[in-house]
């Protein structure tokens, strides 16, 4: 394959332990620039740990994580990488606008950014509301809006569509693709396999390992499956480690 642009994320032999258990044991992958890449896998498979390693907030035991050409978590990257955790990490006792205004000041983003991200996440009507009075879906959009401040080059989104109503979910995926067209690279995790078809590229993960790194069509072609769920099961069955012990544990 030709490789005109260097990958936005490249990981070599990443190992992470939590307590005594190894969560990631020698994981390698690379994520291309300007695409919406889905990180799919059941909950507990290490998606969040992998994302935390990419953002540079995870204690790692070994390996190399390079993001936008620099080591993950280095200070130059803190302006360039937006991160949305699974829990809405925003202040309950501030209004939506006050939350965003604070994060914008921390990032050194222009003031006009607040209105831009309010529009992008369709929160304009709620901007004066305290976050504690918002619904779950609205809160997670505030969290997403905060990550869009300062127009980061890479967005790492941990299950941003969980618990959202279907219309909103479609809206968010549309937003993700708009951002990608404007040059942002996105890594979006999900445990819902239906969302696979909405990604430009897929990383299927299970038990701390990447089972597949493919386009959605390529994945279906390679496995002969009808949908992502099916493809996932096929891959698990083919995998030597899982096949050996009957596909579970």
């Amino acid at each position: 394959m030709m490789d005109t642009t260097e990958p936005v994320i490249s990981i070599r032999d990443l190992r992470v332990r939590r307590g005594r258990t190894a969560v990631l044991h020698g994981l390698s992958l690379s994520v291309p620039r300007g695409q919406v890449v889905g990180l799919l896998g059941p909950s507990g498979c290490g998606k969040t740990t992998l994302m935390r390693s990419i953002v540079g907030v995870q204690d790692v035991a070994g390996g190399e994580v390079t993001v936008l050409g620099g080591p993950a978590g280095s200070s130059a990257l803190r302006h360039k990488v937006g991160y949305v955790t699974q829990a809405e990490s925003v202040y309950d006792d501030l209004t939506v606008r006050q939350n965003l205004a604070y994060f914008a000041r921390v990032l050194g983003a222009p003031k006009s950014d607040v209105d831009r991200v309010l529009t992008q996440t369709d929160l304009g009507a709620n901007s004066g509301q305290l976050v504690s009075t918002l619904s779950g879906g609205q809160r997670s959009r505030v969290s997403l809006a905060a990550a869009l401040l300062g127009t980061p080059e890479l967005l790492v989104l941990d299950e941003p569509t969980v618990g959202l109503d279907p219309v909103l979910r479609v809206d968010l995926w549309t937003l993700f693709h708009e951002l990608a067209r404007a040059g942002t690279s996105l890594l979006v995790s999900s445990h819902v396999m239906d969302e696979a078809t909405r990604c430009d590229r897929l990383l299927l993960m299970r038990e701390g390992e990447i089972l597949a790194d493919e386009t959605p069509d390529g994945l279906l072609a390679a496995t002969g499956a009808r949908d992502a769920e099916d493809a996932f099961l096929t891959l698990i069955a083919r995998h030597p480690r899982h096949a050996a012990d009957g596909g579970d544990s």
Binding site: Y83, L94, V106, G108
Partner: protein
């Protein structure tokens, strides 16, 4: 560290508290009520004049310790701290922002408590009121920084509230409120010399009775400041960008 980010953080913390009027009322009114209660208990005795200054030292210290430890624990648990540390916010911005915000609250709280003690309860302050406020402020900063540090060792709000009796009560007991420090058993006296609250209480007493010069009070303030700096350094070690 940048001034802009520190002020942004302080402003954010104050805005959060502004949305919680009940906390503000409790913060401002409760110390005065308790001082009034103590003054009432010791009506017609000279005791209030000797423990009144110590009470003014206690409130900013205890209250700021509690709210600083709980709010920073909340930041650690809700993930906002992780978000901030993945952004270009310095650890010093975070700690100084909090210290600044709570320091301002402490000035308000101490001003109300001192006014109430002096004008309503008749506490005599022979020295400078400004010096008194300066000591109360140093005390509040100490409480804030210790609270920040303590929050790193708690997994839940239940635990962090238990740090209050563990870290604060011994200082209250040995600080010279119950018994003047020079009358304590030698070992306890020596220990009390190493507790920051003892110096805060000594300094406030010195202001109230005008028994020492400004240099002595300045020295005591420096000791309190040294403890606060120590707590900030230890606290910033506990703010790790990378966590397990």
């Amino acid at each position: 560290m940048t001034v802009g980010r520190t002020f942004a953080t302080a402003g954010r913390v104050l805005t959060q508290i502004r949305h919680d009027p009940r906390t503000i009322v409790l913060l401002v009114v409760v110390p005065s009520l308790l001082i009034g209660l103590v003054a009432w208990i010791f009506t017609d005795t000279p005791i209030f004049d000797s423990i009144g200054p110590a009470l003014i030292a206690l409130f900013p210290f205890i209250v700021m310790f509690l709210i600083a430890s709980i709010t920073t624990l909340r930041e650690r648990r809700t993930g906002t701290l992780e978000r901030l540390l993945s952004m270009p916010l310095g650890k010093a911005d975070f700690i100084l922002g909090y210290t600044l915000a709570f320091g301002l609250l402490a000035i308000l709280q101490s001003a109300v408590a001192v006014s109430f003690a002096v004008w309503v309860c008749g506490l005599t302050i022979k020295g400078s009121i400004w010096l008194l406020l300066a000591v109360a402020l140093a005390d509040a900063v100490l409480g804030t920084t210790l609270g920040l540090f303590a929050s790193a060792f708690a997994r839940s709000e239940f635990q962090v509230v238990q740090f209050m009796p563990a870290l604060v009560f011994p200082q209250v007991l040995l600080g010279g409120i119950f018994l003047p420090r020079d009358q304590l058993p030698d070992v306890l006296h020596a220990i009390s010399d190493w507790l920051p609250l003892s110096h805060a209480i000594d300094a406030l007493r010195a202001v109230a009775t005008n028994s020492h010069d400004a240099a002595y009070i300045g020295g005591e303030l420096l000791i309190i400041a040294a403890f606060a700096v120590g707590a900030v350094v230890l606290g910033s070690i506990t703010l790790q960008r990378r966590t397990p």
